[in-house]
């Protein structure tokens, strides 16, 4: 390859990397945390889920039939059963929907009943527009972080477009990075931590970039697809065939046909269907069930499964009498290779297709994706302070470093603060009322820490403070849980809570140790003098 081409690729890699560094860190770090949000951290965050996430099929059958008799007949058209698996609602949730409204509402309306997963006692009920119910469902710290990763809480479409474009830039950076590091096999293990910070960071950037290249390309590609699909890609693709009507396109391909009600009574064998699904795919988790024309001869049941050998999530179609019809894509009964590829994009991005080991791999690789733009930015900045004619003064270098620590470190701090907050909220605030706290605490902690970066202090001191505070936030989780939590390391009611609390403590102490070990310059609270 010509040297001018390499130089161009290097400049492209640098410019895009520098422009998107902070945002890419934000999305990648929150993504690394979000990998564990469902179901592990969601179970940790909700005491109701900690005793059990599995409700016996017979109990589900009993509850569906019991409440089916209590709701008006129009609400029996569609029944959704959301399992308390930690992927959706934190309670066993039965949603009886009337698509055509009722005497009070002209829009889709729902009657909802939510039960404790263990005791099956009725905890909550709702009657009103379906959209409002789904929009106001209880969130928790891990779900909040997961939603932040998806659209930065900027709403749709702006948030999704931004994260989608970051996926494109990550893809571009990964591809150009591979071209410019031609000595990739020689540099596979080159990490000289004893040669000084600049060399260590440069080596770390190359090692993470080379080893993580396949992962970064996959995440960039899938992230771009997930972010832009519903906002730009589907409407564009629907432009010719459906006049730009994306909803019509989705309906044509994915609509589950409504059964014709025969008015011949035949009990819908929900428990047999659930047991059959579990025996067919023992490693998969049943997320939810949709029952159409319940207790009718033409009843149809659709189960959504996640994980197992299929990798991608799937939809199982059963007749009401328990007869298995077919397994299909979770998008509907669509043929062809493209849909199979698209199906796999989701588990490839989320890493949620086969248990905790794969999730840990995704967390490690996700953290390297987050550290890549950061290390690249640091390389770019330090290069500009070197030489006989540096383009960046020492003062400006310190300010840039403080900005990076404030924005990126601030995000880490804000995310970590949500975990002790979750324990406090579980103790003091009921149900969906908790939702009002996560946003303000998260964004004000982040903003507050970013504003601290304006103070005239050395960036190493600022970084030390950031590490200590992050460590303190995480370390506070276990003691708080012991003091006010329902299940904790002392009563050992939930193994998952014990493991998560212990890991939080371990990571928190590691941050504190790193912060204490960090050597300061002689003047930690005075800005570095201009050269």
């Amino acid at each position: 390859m010509k040297s001018i081409t390499l130089k161009k690729l290097f400049l492209m890699h640098s410019w895009v990397g520098v422009l998107t560094a902070v945002l890419l860190f934000i999305v990648a770090f929150s993504g690394a945390l979000a990998v564990l949000s469902r179901p592990e951290l969601k179970i940790w965050a909700n005491p109701e889920l900690q005793s059990t996430q599995i409700v016996p099929s017979s109990d589900i059958n009993t509850l569906v039939n019991q409440y089916y008799k209590q709701v008006p007949s129009a609400f029996g058209e569609n029944i959704h059963v959301f399992m308390p698996s930690g992927h959706n609602f934190y309670l066993l949730t039965l949603v009886f929907e009337s698509h055509h409204g009722d005497e009070n509402y002209s829009q889709e309306v729902a009657r909802v009943f939510q039960f404790h997963p263990d005791s099956l006692a009725l905890v909550d009920s709702y009657y009103g527009p379906s959209k409002e119910f789904y929009a106001n469902k209880k969130t928790d710290a891990p779900s909040y972080i997961g939603e932040f990763h998806a659209d930065l809480h900027l709403g749709r479409p702006i948030g999704l477009i931004l994260t989608g474009f970051l996926g494109l830039t990550l893809l571009k950076s990964a591809v150009t990075g591979l071209f410019i590091h031609r000595k990739m096999f020689k540099e596979l293990f080159t990490f000289r931590r004893s040669k000084g910070l600049d060399i260590a960071i440069s080596d770390a950037h190359k090692v993470m970039g080379i080893w993580g290249s396949v992962f970064n390309i996959v995440i960039g590609f899938t992230g771009a697809f997930l972010g832009l699909a519903t906002i730009i890609l589907l409407p564009a693709a629907a432009f010719v065939s459906f006049g730009g009507d994306q909803d019509k396109l989705i309906e044509t391909f994915t609509a589950i046909p409504e059964p014709v009600v025969s008015h011949i009574e035949q009990p819908t064998n929900i428990d047999a269907i659930l047991e059959n699904a579990k025996s067919r795919f023992p490693k998969a988790v049943i997320i939810d069930a949709t029952i159409m024309a319940n207790n009718d001869a033409n009843a149809q049941v659709y189960l959504r499964l996640l994980g197992g050998e299929a990798v991608a999530s799937q939809l199982l179609h059963y007749r009401g009498d328990g007869e298995f019809v077919k397994s299909m894509s979770s998008f509907g009964d669509i043929s062809g290779i493209s849909i199979k590829v698209i199906e796999v994009l989701f588990p490839l991005h989320f890493g949620n297709f086969a248990g905790i080991f794969i999730k840990l791999l995704w967390v490690i690789l996700g953290l390297t994706t987050a550290l890549l733009p950061l290390s690249g930015m640091m390389m770019w900045l330090s290069k500009r302070t070197r030489g006989s004619n540096p383009t960046l003064s020492v003062q400006a270098y310190t300010r840039w470093n403080r900005f990076i620590i404030g924005s990126c470190g601030g995000l880490v701090l804000a995310s970590f603060v949500l975990f002790p907050l979750q324990i406090v909220l579980n103790y003091s605030v009921d149900g969906a009322l908790q939702n009002a706290f996560f946003g303000p605490v998260f964004f004000y902690s982040w903003l507050g820490w970013l504003l601290v970066s304006l103070l005239p202090m050395h960036h190493t001191f600022y970084f030390k403070l950031t590490l200590l505070l992050c460590g303190a936030a995480l370390s506070a989780v276990m003691p708080l849980n012991i003091l006010i939590g329902q299940n904790n390391i002392m009563n050992f009611n939930s193994a998952l809570v014990v493991i998560v609390d212990s890991l939080f403590m371990l990571i928190g102490l590691t941050f504190i140790w790193a912060g204490l070990k960090l050597k300061l310059t002689k003047q930690p609270i005075l800005e570095a003098q201009t050269v």
Binding site: L168, K172, V175, F221, A236, V240, S335
Partner: protein, 100 residues
Amino acid sequence: MFKVSKNNKSTFKAIKRRHFLACVVALITAVIIIPGMTTYLPFHMNEQILLPIMLFPIIWVGLFMYAYLAEHVWQPFAVMLLLSISHGLLSLLALMQGKA
């Protein structure tokens, strides 16, 4: 805040036009290509719609890189213009045929 290196100016000719091509025109071209591709791909309707959607990130990255790597700035401009016009016309024809 930063001094622009003279080396960057000599590496890329017409740097501002390349920025515009890469950041704006490449995106518009890639988006126009999607409906255009649905008109000529020789597959079932599912594939005709899903394949261009899947190819979008690759097309965009390719156009983005070409905007900077091409020796002369008119080259990527001509390619993107040709792609946009051709796929736009294909989409328009298909729409008009559909309405008729």
